[in-house]
């Protein structure tokens, strides 16, 4: 029944294309396009996409998910064309490489009548996507700052290690600073560590030489946090209630939180599994009787020892 209903909705919007594919076989075809994983977070996303594919296809035998990853924006644009012409997809879940060069290709998929779900990076033109699924960068900064305020008191000193200079980094940093303001906590300095372990290690070494009194570190990212911890241990300044707050949800960090690590006691979620959320929601657009279109902004959950287990995926590469 539900399927018929979904088919009906789709038929209104795109009678021609849809009729073609629905008659050819009864399956709902959903293309999932994202960049080829070149770093740990993206590898985690790849893993979660594959997990979601297995789970959803088992749950709904009439749903066919087609996963495609592309090494650059041009290749992703071609992949989108193929998904329309070869696979005749009914819906597209896309994590664009870059916003600008992929806006037109996604618009073309939209014109074929397919449902569009955009993940993580928005397109440069509003109104193309039916559904937008993303993490919350300002919230990540705010939640981190709130935790800092809960642990530290007036006059305590922290240092901040930032990511690669980008909009994402700015959103996180600005929200963090806005939340810290007025709390009496001193932010001694902030430097870019490029979401990278080696840079995290070196920048933290220099902070430790420069500032004799540091009470906590906001590393913003789990890779940076790992470098920071190595530098703290080398300098023997990992005691006295020192703590580091990272972000993202790397499995090694989550494991540490579960085991009661005092140096990294919490993590703030910016999960690669959001691709799975997007795939679920897109399937629901065909299967559920509830409306799905809109914006789905994930919370930046504070992961503590109590809830860590539900965010721990030992088999994921991230």
């Amino acid at each position: 029944m539900l399927l018929k209903k979904a088919l009906g909705v789709m038929a209104v919007t795109s009678a021609l294309v849809f009729a073609g594919s629905a008659v050819a076989d009864e399956k709902i075809k959903i293309g999932v396009s994202y960049p080829t994983p070149t770093h740990a977070w993206a590898a985690g996303m790849n893993w979660h996409a594959e997990q979601a594919e297995k789970r959803l296809e088992k749950l709904y035998p009439d749903v066919d998910l087609i996963l495609v990853n592309s090494p650059d924006p041009g290749a992703q644009a071609s992949a989108l064309e193929d998904l329309v012409s070869v696979h005749q997809i009914d819906a597209l879940v896309v994590l664009p490489f870059e916003s600008e060069p992929l806006t037109d290709p996604v618009l073309n998929v939209k014109k074929s009548g397919a449902w569009i779900t955009v993940v993580d990076r928005g397109l440069s033109q509003p109104g193309i996507e039916d559904l937008y699924v993303a993490g919350n960068n300002p919230e990540l900064g705010r939640v981190s700052a709130q935790y800092m305020k809960g642990r530290l008191k007036d006059g305590d000193n922290i240092v901040v290690l930032r990511g690669i200079p980008t909009v994402i980094d700015n959103e996180r940093f600005d929200a963090f600073m806005a939340e810290i303001e007025g709390s009496g906590i001193n932010v001694l300095d902030h430097k870019h560590a490029n979401w990278n372990r080696d840079d995290g290690f070196e920048v933290m070494q220099d902070f430790l030489s420069r500032f004799p009194d540091i009470d906590a570190v906001w590393a913003q990212d789990d890779d940076i946090a790992i470098g920071v911890v190595a530098a703290l241990k080398q300098a023997g300044r990992d005691g006295n209630g020192m703590f580091v707050v990272g972000g993202a949800g790397m499995k090694e960090i989550i494991k540490g939180i579960m085991d009661g690590d005092e140096l990294i006691p919490v993590d703030v979620l910016y999960p690669p599994a959001m691709i799975a959320t997007a795939m679920d929601a897109t399937v629901n657009a065909f299967k559920s009787n509830g409306p799905v279109a809109g914006r789905y902004i994930l919370g930046a959950t504070l992961i503590t020892r109590e809830n860590a287990e539900s965010y721990y995926f030992p088999d994921s590469p991230f």
């Binding site: 770093h39 740990a40 790849n46 290690f201 030489s209 790992i226 590469p317």
Partner: protein
Amino acid sequence: MTMSTTSDDGEGKTAKRQSIDFKTLGPAIALLILCIIGFLLNPAFISEGNLTNLLTRSAFIGIIAVGATFVITAGGIDLSVGSMAAAIAGVMIIVMNNAVETLGTGVPTVLLGCGIAVLLGIGAGWINGALTTKGKIEAFIVTLGTMGIYRSLVTYFADGGTLSLNFDIRGTYRPVYYDSFLGLPFPVWVFIGVAICGWLLLNRTAFGRYCTAIGSNEAVAKYSAINVDRVKTLTYIIQGLCVSFATIIYVPRLGSASASTGVLWELEAIAAVIIGGTVLKGGYGRIGGTILGALILTTIGNILNFTDMISNYLNGTMQGLIIIVAVLLQRSDWKLGKN
């Protein structure tokens, strides 16, 4: 770092000695100025802890740059070193993790890993050398190709994520980076050892003179009965060996390797070599200068972390300016009126 300043200016240039003093001393002066700036910005700059950090950090780029000095002196270039380091680190970690069951988590496993690293370094260097000489492809293209290959191999080995060394082996291996001998951390000793060997090889052996000759004029070198292909291949093998030494002291630092390991190390190594006074088109090389060049590059980054006067976004600008000024200092004609 003290051994390197004056001892190795090229022979056969005595006629111009008065005027080249500034050129050989250029990198040393630049480093000195940087250190004074660092001290003025924050006296903690010359604290023992910071100087030790600085020297240890320079070791990676410095050791690789010693190898690059040979390649560049002989007229070649190697763009693959950063990726090569990442790939070697990746394979080392995989081999050591797999050897835990048979060899345990002690010294033998670490030695096995180091042995593998040396073999891989030599092999990778030989591939670059053979493709350049026997394959007759420009070094730039060969090493651009291998750069991409090694980088994607480490991504593949790590399944896109990060390879992490077994926690118990890390305990055994960790002192190689973090422990000291006579007040200097082990990586600095390795750096000193590689620098001395490199200096002797370039300045006191026939091989070193062949490198210079080939870099000056390959055709003439060939007619002078120098086995050009063999010498050039050897320079790439030395480079590969240096990369494996750098990797052996890099891995115990964080115990991990990923696609972001060693990114842009090739450019830093080449910059260190050129800041040190070696000529990019070949024919003249200075190991001592290279070491100063590596120290200068690391010091710039260190100083930028010691001040908040300069916007973070301008770090690259400062680095670029200092590199250009350092080279300007030793290249331009500073004879003041004599010309």
